[in-house]
Amino acid sequence: MDIKRSYYEDIELFKSNTILVWSILFLVFLGILPWLVKAYHLLGMSIYILNLITINALVAIGLNILVGYTGQISMGHAGFFAIGAFTSVILVLNWNFPLWIALPVAGFISSAFGFILGLPALRLKGPYLAIATLGFGMSITTIIKHMEFFGGRMGLQAPKLYLFGTPMKDFHYYYVIMTIAVLMVIGAVKLIKTRVGRAFIAIRDSDIAAEAMGVNLTYYKTLAFAVSAFYTGIGGGLYAFILGFINPESFHIIMSIAFLAMVVVGGLGSIMGSIAGAALLTYLDIKLQVVQDIPAIGPALVAFSQKYMSMAGISNIAVIVYGLIMILIVLFEPLGIFGFWIRTKRYWKTWPF
């Protein structure tokens, strides 16, 4: 069942009928998810959180294309996120673009910046690339902050969008975002299976060997940056509208680190992994809050805080847990959540050997 008999079989989107059926069921599930969440308060979530998770997943996929598949590090993706957000808001606010034009345009502008960043990145590797992208991300934020065109430090208020005459609420946004996300996920999966994707992977494994095999490094490396920035830019545009108000301060380095964490925790080089990583980390980030209410260890932590630590800072336990998760995943499961999935699958497949 895993043997491919021809090239076209290998690049098919749905490897077998089983996967096709499961995918359709999953799509149906996604379709009714808002109702489930509203009616049952599933896992304490709201539709807004679902939207946020989807957007983060989109960004994580974009970042994964760059980091997981092409092997370039980027710690500045908050910059592309910000560019996407501000551009789409300005397009809709000042020039009355409809959303379905503004988003791709924002995506393309963002990928133009990605291309610009990709050019110097050609010469850099590893830690140096990380620092360069870090610098880029922070410069973008500072520049946006200082330009009155973007609302200055105050930020911009995203205009209310209308869908066939009714103002859009979280509910409507969910379907818009989910449609866009599904399309882009399919796009990403397809991309990896084509020549371009294989070129990316070749560059990651050994770029000198890839060049020897005829892969044009300049073209593909900058393309990786551009595609990655495109995904992130679209994510940024959607983010601006579900949040309602964007200010440059919130696109800081912690956000870049969070995106990177989602990719690594989810699994480098795996689209499904990025989605899982984004979902897990976004959910934890929002929910890992009220320490006192955690069953069993909550009161113990509070008592411990009062004796040895300061009560004022007790919420920091969430931050500690977040950092610990990042470290533990990298140490014990370098392939991330996707690695867990593969191991479980393999365990069941090869049982009882």
Binding site: V67, I73, G135, H146, L324, L331, F332
Partner: protein
């Protein structure tokens, strides 16, 4: 004004170069970008603060205990976290340091609360030395002196002692170093311990110049990255040069061009430097053969 700007630039650059020194030590030995450097320094400084405030330990003893703590912290991090990583990639190492940074920051916020504190220091930040009308506070002066002295000691250490040469060997090729009989595991722990100690010195001086609160090292960390990149990530004298240059350029830019964009200068320098001469001003560029 020009003279004063340059003098202040040197002063603040010395702080950056101390922190950069800590980072370069680690990079020279294990090729890891230590993003947790700032927070490690911050925790050590908080330890010094607690010793002096709550336990009324005199300054000299507090410093010594802080150094001990810093050494243990560095070794702990290396032993418990880094060594467990099986064949880590560059990204994996970066994520580990980032995770450690978050743990430390959360821990500091938890233990000491978010209020700003003030670190008691025997040398005052207000009293100044006067050179031809240009002022430099006493702490600033001693920061420059300490950073130069430390850099010089470490430079000699790396170049001429057995342990130093062993550290350089470990960076170039860990397997070959082990074959030659160098105890690489011990060397790595030792490196992290020293780096943490240098970071503690930087942290205490920065806190003395300003306030002590959990996010105090976030900005200096970025600036010290810029200094290290400017001077060369594998060059110890480069940190002093890079730090001084960064401080002076920043101040001149702020004084004459625009104060609001002052922070962007550091990042612009990083990007420019990495485009033109990635190995920095003073480091040799090693080309990795396939």
């Amino acid at each position: 004004m020009l003279g004063q700007l340059i003098v202040s630039g040197l002063a603040v650059g010395a702080c950056y170069s101390l922190l950069a020194l800590a980072m370069v030590i680690i990079y020279k030995t294990s090729d890891v970008l230590n993003f947790a450097q700032g927070e490690m320094a911050m925790i050590s400084t908080y330890v010094a603060f607690t010793l002096m405030e709550s336990y009324h330990v005199p300054f000299q003893w507090a410093v010594i205990f802080t150094f001990l703590f810093a050494i243990l912290l560095g070794a702990f991090f290396e032993l418990v976290f880094l060594r467990q990583a099986k064949d880590p990639t560059v990204l994996g190492l970066i994520i580990i340091t980032l995770g450690f940074e978050m743990i430390l920051m959360g821990f500091a916020g938890w233990k000491w609360g978010p209020d700003q504190r003030s670190l008691a220091f025997p040398v005052s930040n207000i009293e100044t030395y006067n050179f031809f009308g240009l002022v430099m506070s006493k702490i600033n002066f001693w920061t420059i002196v300490i950073s130069l002295v430390l850099m010089f000691i470490l430079f000699l250490f790396f170049r001429y002692t057995k342990v130093g040469i062993a550290m350089r060997a470990t960076q170039q090729n860990q397997l070959a170093a082990r074959v030659m009989g160098i105890r690489t595991k011990w060397i790595l722990s030792f490196t992290w311990a020293i780096s943490s100690m240098v970071g503690a010195v930087a942290g205490m001086l920065i806190a003395a110049l300003g306030v002590l609160d959990p996010p105090m090292m976030m900005d200096p960390l970025m600036k010290s990255f810029a200094s290290a990149v400017l001077g060369g990530m594998t060059s110890l004298p480069g940190t002093a040069v890079g730090g001084a240059m960064l401080g002076i350029i920043e101040n001149l830019f702020g004084g004459y061009v625009s104060l609001s964009f002052k922070s962007v200068v550091a990042f612009a320098i990083i990007v420019l430097m990495l485009c033109i001469k990635p190995s920095g001003l003073l480091a040799k560029h090693y080309v990795k053969k396939v």
